[in-house]
Structure formats: structure tokens, C-alpha cells
Point group: C2
């Protein structure tokens, strides 16, 4: 630690310092501008990024990895075209061996050098943010602006947040310390102690189809900066954003004199079950996963040699008791349901409303009037196809379509899902949100996740009953988000108590420009790890602390 800092650490020290402050304050901060405007990114950035993205299509992806034996191309865009990008496909043993061989020198480089290199990778990715955004847009089905923000700027912010937590954790005590213990009348005992940060082993990141970068970056960079080589196993439907990530990460690593095999892409044929094969390798000691509860639970129960971080399914819940801004409430909820056609892990599903209706600034509103208010906003937001698709994007897979069919039969359909013709992509699969009315007794329906543009308005006996249902369903199935609308502080307090018991983050009275399905890096924690929807939060101390160990040596001075 007394040596000259690594040049890339020096380059990024100010950014890292600001990020370290941000995680202690958890107030507003962002390092990567979220507006794709030419005023921010320059007049040519958008076109250059799109061209770079297009150059990948129907071609071999430029990645020189050990063990490559062939190519795989697996991506069909929700917007209705095949990407045709051909990724290296190969020998897992060679990849694991290369990753393992890369570990010692990366470990010995120390926290500063690793942080500098990781921040340089973020800077490089940021320079290619339009390229990334196009890739996220095409593979996830997100509208472009959302892909730019969630898949580009916000993903980079979350990566930086994870690096900051990990750096803080690695450096919470010095690299070496002198110890001098008084020894009565004799000379004191004096020792120097060296504390080495030692990584756990090879880390595996298992990406998802909907947020290939945002959900993968925290784990990828938390593992990498703490010294672990990372194997990235993308979803076969969303390889390109992570392939681009791996490409620039390897480029930066090589330029900085490190082994590029610290970051590897493990693309697969559909049905190859590469995640399962990798997850059970003894060399793999850390796994980050986003996806189904079933597979997340399988990983937790079977990849016993690894620390496993999972984000799974849940039943996100809104409790409506009363509001002093009925129009704002309906606008806010309706927007949340429409954004990315409900395909966010944070989209509300269960909307609990007293059967007797609620008090509002517009007087008493019946249950049906509240439902109609929300449905009306969704209808308005999705009425014009050209504007609709910029909010909804496209449907990511057939599973969502199947649930949309199924849900029409489980209750009274308050708002039917519609097919929208995409003005640009003729074969895009676009659907508007469905809202179905249920009773409190229909827990066998609303008590599990219906991933996609599906939500339920559920009539309850009272707000107390609604909170009981929240405690019960979130307690059993977990949730990433909860919200409450109430004008009475006592009701807000009761909702907060229920949220604490269920271990779910709560948003209160959102009627403006903040939505329950959005979480801000450096301020909001995403997931809590305190319920069944996730076993960890992005991003906090617990998320990073187990990715390395401290091994000390000591000797007398």
C-alpha cells in the first residue's frame, strides 16, 4: 500500500472517492448521465453507437477466448427479428482453467489497482453506452430510452456502487499494521501484521433476459474488484449486452497488463444447461443469479461450494387506503403497470383496496372507481401505438403471453390486454397491461407471481385486512417492492410496520415523478434479502463482504 498507486487508480480516484461518500450518505448521486440527449453525449454518439451495434449482427462476435470450439447464435429479438450474432462456444474446462490461472496476479495486484481497472472498464463501457443500449433494447424488448437508462447509465451506476462497497470493505483496515503490546517492565512485544485480501475463487454471473446488464453488473464487478475471475453466462435471449461488456472488460484488462481471462463469456445453445454445469464446478465459489424462484432455490440448495446471491420472483403489493391526490395516484400506478409492459421484477402485481372504497381529494371513491381510475390511465398511456410502444416495449418471451391468456379466466377482467402494432417493427410482440379483479379469498391466484403485464385489484374488508394480506403473501412468497397510499400518519405507520415484518421496501404516496418500480443507485436498496424474493440486496455490505477473505501474516519487528 506504500507503493506508487496504479495509474488507473490515480485516474479514477476522485470518482471512487465520490462514490464512497455517496454510499455513506445514500442521498442523490449519479456518475453516468441518464439522458441520451445529444447535448449530453454529443451529436454523433447515438449514430455511432447504433452503427457499432449493427456491425455485430449476423457476424462472428469479436472475442478471443481460450477453449473456443465453435459458435452459437441464439438471440431472437422481442421486436421480431433474429440478431444472428455468433458467439464463441467451447470447452468449459479450458475456460475454468484460464480463469483459475488468472487469479494469483490479480489477487496480488491489490484493491487499489483492481478498483482502478474496474473503473476504467466502466469508463470504457460508458464510452460505448449507445452500443450497449441498442443491444439491451434489441434483446430485452425494452423501449430504447429505458434500455439506455436502465441498461446503460443506471447499470453503470449500480456497478460503481458495488465497486465502492467492495473497495470500502477491502480497505476498512490498512494493508498492514504495527502492533505493540506493553509487557510489564520488559520491552513491549512488537509485530508487524500484513492483511491480504484473498478472493474466493471463480465467480459465475448468470444473466437474465429482461435486464441483462442492470441485474448482472453489481455481482460481476463486486466479484471482479475483490479479486475473483468472473465467468459470465448470459441468458441465450440476451447475450449481446454481456458480450459487449466482456469484450471491453477484456480489452481494458489486457491494456492494463492483466490477464484478459479474468472475464470470460460462456454463451450456450438453448437447453445446454450451462449454468447448472458451471454452478456445480468446485472452482466456482461465488454465483450471482437473477431469474425464477425455482432455479434460484435450486442454486441455493445445490451449489453448496459457492456463496449464492439470488434475485427471484415475488408478489409486489400496493395497499390503497386513501389519498389526497386521486388523479396523481392513478397516474403513478398506471404508469408503473405500463412501463416495459409490467416485465420489471419491481412492477406491482397485487393492488389491495377496501371493498367499501376509499376517501380522496375528489370525495369518496368506490372500489370500482379506483380500479377504473388506474385502468383509465393505462388505457390512455397505451391508446396511441407510436407512444405506447415507447413505454411498453415488447414482450420478452412466450411465457408472458401464456400467462396473459390464462389470467383472463381467473377473475373479472377490468382491463383486457390488447395487441399493439409496432410502428417500426412489423413482427414485434407488443401487449398492453391486463387488470383483473379478485376477492381477498382468491389467494391461490394472487398469492404467486404472474410475471408480465398482469395485475390484480383485490377487494379487502379494510386497510387492516389489506396489511394482513401483505404480511401473509409477502411473508410467504417475498416481494421486491411495496407501496401504500394513505392520508393518515397512523395508517402509514401501520404499513411501515407491516413492511418491516415482511422485510420489503415501502414507497409511500407516490403521485409524481418517482415510481414504485424504480430504484435509484447509491440511495435506494434494491431488494432487501429479508424475504423470499431475494437472498441479498443490491448493493450493501452483506452483498460484498463474503466475496473475499482476509489472510494475515505477522512477524516481530
Amino acid at each position: 500500500m506504500t507503493e506508487t498507486p496504479h495509474p488507473l487508480y490515480a485516474t479514477h480516484a476522485d470518482t471512487l472517492a465520490r462514490a464512497l461518500t455517496a454510499i455513506t450518505e445514500r442521498a442523490y448521486w449519479s456518475a453516468f448521465p441518464e439522458s441520451p440527449s445529444p447535448r449530453v453525449y454529443g451529436e454523433t454518439a447515438a449514430a455511432e453507437g447504433e452503427a457499432a451495434y449493427r456491425s455485430y449482427l449476423d457476424a462472428d462476435f469479436p472475442l478471443d477466448q481460450p477453449g473456443t470450439q465453435g459458435r452459437v447464435a441464439t438471440e431472437a429479438s422481442p421486436f421480431g427479428f433474429d440478431l444472428g450474432v455468433r458467439y464463441p462456444h467451447g470447452d468449459l474446462d479450458a475456460m475454468i482453467a484460464a480463469a483459475t490461472a488468472a487469479l494469483p496476479s490479480w489477487r496480488d495486484a491489490g484493491p487499489q489497482a483492481r478498483a482502478g481497472v474496474c473503473l476504467e472498464i466502466l469508463a470504457r463501457l460508458h464510452r460505448h453506452i449507445f452500443e450497449l443500449a441498442n443491444a439491451v433494447h434489441a434483446t430485452s424488448g425494452q423501449a430504447f430510452v429505458m434500455a439506455f437508462q436502465a441498461g446503460g447509465a443506471h447499470a453503470l451506476d449500480r456497478a460503481l456502487e458495488a465497486i465502492a462497497y467492495a473497495y470500502a470493505e477491502m480497505t476498512r483496515h490498512p494493508g498492514s499494521a504495527e502492533w505493540e503490546k506493553p509487557a510489564g517492565k520488559g520491552d513491549p512485544l512488537r509485530m508487524v501484521k500484513t492483511f491480504h485480501v484473498v478472493p474466493r475463487g471463480v465467480a459465475l454471473v448468470i444473466g437474465c433476459n429482461t435486464f441483462p446488464t442492470w441485474n448482472s453488473y453489481p455481482g460481476l464487478f463486486a466479484s471482479l474488484v475483490t479479486g475473483n475471475p468472473v465467468v459470465v453466462k448470459p441468458h441465450p435471449g440476451a447475450v449481446l449486452p454481456l458480450a459487449i461488456t466482456v469484450r471491453y472488460a477484456r480489452e481494458v484488462l489486457a491494456e492494463a497488463g492483466f490477464d484478459p481471462n479474468l472475464v470470460l463469456l460462456a454463451a450456450e445453445e438453448p437447453g445446454e444447461k450451462l449454468a447448472t454445469t458451471l454452478a456445480l464446478r468446485p472452482e466456482v465459489r461465488i454465483i450471482d443469479f437473477t431469474g425464477s424462484t425455482e432455479y434460484g432455490d435450486w442454486l441455493e440448495n445445490n451449489a453448496r461450494q459457492a456463496s449464492v446471491y439470488t434475485e427471484k420472483a415475488g408478489v409486489n403489493t400496493i395497499v390503497i387506503d386513501s389519498t389526497d391526490d386521486f388523479a396523481g395516484m392513478c397516474r403513478n400506478i398506471g404508469f408503473s403497470l405500463t412501463l416495459y409492459s409490467g416485465q420489471m421484477c419491481t412492477t406491482p402485481q397485487n393492488i389491495l383496496i377496501p371493498a367499501a372504497g376509499i376517501d380522496t381529494d375528489q370525495g369518496h371513491k368506490t372500489f370500482d372507481e379506483v380500479t377504473a381510475g388506474i385502468a383509465g390511465v393505462v388505457g390512455k398511456l397505451t391508446g396511441d401505438p407510436a407512444r405506447a410502444v415507447e413505454l411498453t416495449g415488447a414482450i420478452v418471451n412466450d411465457g408472458v403471453l401464456g400467462r396473459l391468456d390464462e389470467v383472463a379466466g381467473v377473475g373479472e377482467v377490468v382491463l383486457a390486454s390488447r395487441t399493439v402494432a409496432h410502428p417500426t417493427y412489423a413482427d414485434a410482440v407488443v401487449r398492453t397491461p391486463a387488470i383483473v379483479r379478485l376477492g381477498a379469498d382468491d389467494a391461490q391466484t394472487y398469492g404467486r407471481e404472474w410475471f408480465g403485464p398482469i395485475s390484480f385489484t383485490i377487494s379487502t374488508d379494510s386497510t387492516a385486512h389489506s396489511l394482513e394480506i401483505l404480511r401473509k403473501t409477502v411473508g410467504a412468497q417475498g416481494a421486491l417492492t411495496a407501496a401504500v397510499y394513505a392520508t393518515d400518519e397512523k395508517v402509514l405507520d401501520a404499513a411501515e410496520a407491516a413492511a418491516l415484518d415482511a422485510g420489503v421496501h415501502l414507497s409511500c404516496n407516490l403521485t409524481g415523478g418517482v415510481f414504485v418500480n424504480q430504484s435509484a443507485a447509491f440511495s435506494d436498496f434494491h431488494a432487501s434479502g429479508a424475504n423470499a424474493a431475494a437472498n441479498a440486496a443490491l448493493t450493501d455490505g452483506a452483498y460484498v463482504a463474503n466475496r473475499f477473505r482476509v489472510v494475515q501474516s505477522r512477524r516481530h519487528i
Copy 2:
């Protein structure tokens, strides 16, 4: 966090602040004096503590817990007498229910109040340190001074260290934060966010027979201060030290207006398998365990609802290459083998020496001369029974005696274990260390732990070969400690590289008053979590960060 601090927080704020500094510096610091001298603790403390200890013998232990249905008395001292202390024994459902009911108000009290109460418990225990020391002495078989230090002062230091790490983790960001995001030309988005520390559930601490307080306190206090009620399941052979701990913890909790059922004692009949029953309860979400590899692995594999922290067996190793202080080296190693007759989890077992001998300040020493040097020190330290027992203490159980019998047949006995008559306790079971010579090929013998006063001098081809054996055996079985003796920096570097690869803490050239089996709170990490001997270190960020979650709520300002 804006309210008046809890009075107990105010009382102990300076101590906590000093401890928080200590964990960032990892230099020398101690809060609890380790000398039992009357000059430190007063003229009457020793006699009063012993009297308090004696008042427990052959009597009902004063503990008023829910669910008590009878009493159990299970403790036979290694010094040859039954303690006859009768502990409450009862209904687990009632205990778990009481612990669960105590959680919400303890959670809602917040980090400051909980830290204040926990530090008051430590202060109360410190006031009763002689009582504790007598209890540890009688149940573990440690000599009195060691029981006072390891079981009293050092255990309290480790508890404080765990509290400091947990407090730092809980307060690394504020309890609430204002977030203001610029919104172009419009008004900024403004929210206030509250971050609640939410405990995981009921915590279980499974104590061991040899270090009932030292090994239990970090987990106990890390869990308690982060909001989790704690059920303490002591080893049936060492109940009293933890019963005293639970007694005073409950006393302080009740005085401070909290539910005393936040800390409960679960004493058991031998063979009752209470740890297993408790470990599988769904309410139990954190488990701390010290003991056998077999049972620790069982916990990790079966108590899947809980975060499990284990310290298990390992093969502690010394590599001897050369020394510039042959006499000091032999004294240091010989003392380490003798202390508590080798019944520390940190006692060296495998001493790797080149068959061709080593260079020393006394000229070349053959393998046999090195072995004889160490054996000679052990013989001298244990020659006089009265002095011997103040180092060795007594043998904790029949398993150790069985291994002593067995080991005599596995190689050439260089130093035979002897029976020593204890000058005070006629029925005490006292044995001196055995040293057995093996070859590098005898890995089936030295490759596993022989817990007790058993060590092996193992002849190797070279120091490089010794390091290869260290890598292999520690890599496979784990170790809590390793040491090297070498005069050449290159050899020390090679040993450090091997220690990093094996994930074991290394002590270099100990020839004075620091011993490889000792670790200093606030400076040395105990275990690393980086090899099979333990899945966590005492005490670091990773050890505390998963004992709670952060659940947030947010609303517009």
C-alpha cells in the same frame, strides 16, 4: 436517530468509539485487562469471584426462563469433580416463542440502544470476571490464569470487537437520508428515505467444551446487537460459563426495560441432540458453532434456513527451514504445544522439517536435533507437576485420551505423553504432550486433526516440499494457524505465498513472547474463512453483515 441517545449508549459511547477506531487500525488495543492481579482488579475480587462461583455448585442455577419444566446437571470437571449445578430444562416451543416475541421492540430500539445495552452486559460480565474465570477453569480444564485471560478478558475483548463491527455495519449509512434529484427545468424530485435495520430472526449459539465463552461471545453479541434474540446451547460439559453469561445478560436487559427473553439458555441432557432440534427450527435464522468438522458440515448442509458460521477442525502446520535463534524457536514451539495440553484449536500439529536438517545460529542441526530441541522444552516445562499443571491444565474428555493411546502406535514416539498428578485435584486427568516422528509419506496420519496434546515432526525432502505439503494438507483439511521459521526473505515470501493459496494465517519466526496459538482481539483475525477449518473469521465485516438486513421506506417531502 435524532432522538436523545439511550442512556446506556451515552454511558459506553467512548468505549464504543475507541473500539471502532481499533477495528480500523488493527493495532494493539484491549478494553479488558488480562492480568488477574489484585493491583488491577482489587484485593477482594478474586475471593469474591471464587465464592460466587462456589455458590452455584450443587444448587439450582438462578435463571427464571419461560418453559422451564425441570432441571439438568451434566458437568464433570476435567479436574475430577462434578459441579452439580442444576440448570433449567424445558419446553423449546415456549423458549422459541418467547424469543420471537421479544424481537420487535428490540429491533425498533435501534442500533444505538442495542449497542449501549450490549456494552452494559459486557461491563456487568467484567465485574464478575473472576466468577466467569472459575467457571471456565472448572469446566474446560484450563489452568486458572489461562481461564481468566482467554475465558474472561480476551472473550470480552472479542465480544466488544464483534459489537464494534456490527455497529459499524449497521451505521455505515444514516438512519434516514434526503434525496433530491434534479428534474430539468422543473422542480427537483425530493424524497426522504428511512433505512431500518431488521434482524434475521432467532439466533442460535452452540458452545464448545474447551472455550465456552471465547468461542461463543463473538456470535452471541454480533447477533444480539443486530437485533436478533439469542438462544445459547452450551456444551453439556461447559454450561456454567454460559449460564452465568445468560444470567447477567438477562439482568441487564430487564433493568434497561427490554425483554430478558432476548437471551435464553438451552441446557440439555447428554444425548438429547438439542442443537440439532434447534438448528432445524424455521424460526432459527443464524447459527454460530464451534466444534467438530462432522457436525459443522452437517449444520451447513442441513440448517438451510439459517446463516451458519462454523469453526471446525484443521491441521495447523509449522514449516521449519532455518533460524537465527534456535533456542528461542524451540522454546516458543515447545510452549505452544504444552499450553492447555494442546487442546486449543490453534495448537500446531504438523511440524515439517527437512530430513537433512536446518541451519541455525548454533550451526547445522539435524532433523533429530531439532525434534529433540522442541521435545526438550516440553519436557522441561512439564517436569515439575506443580508448574506443569499451571500450563497444561487438564484433559477435557476421553476422546483426547483415546487419541493419545492411538498415536503411540502410528510412528516413532519422540516424546511420550506422561500422566501428571495434580497437586490440588487428586482426580484431575493431566497428560503431557506426545511428539511422534513421521515421514512425508504418512499423510494418512498427519493429514487429519489429532485434537489434543499430539504433534508430529515430519521429515521432508526440502522446505519446498514442506510448503507443498502445507498447501496440500491445509488446502484439503483446513487450518487455523500456520507458522514458518526461516532466515531467508525468499523462503518467508514463499511461505507467505503458500499460506495465501491455502487461506491460512501465517506467523513468521516467533521466538519470543507471542505464540502461534494466540490471536489478539482487535488486531489478529481468528480463522480466515478461506479454508475448510472455518467458514468465517472472527471478527470482520463478513462475520456481521449477514446478521441483519436493511429495509427502507421512502416518501416525498
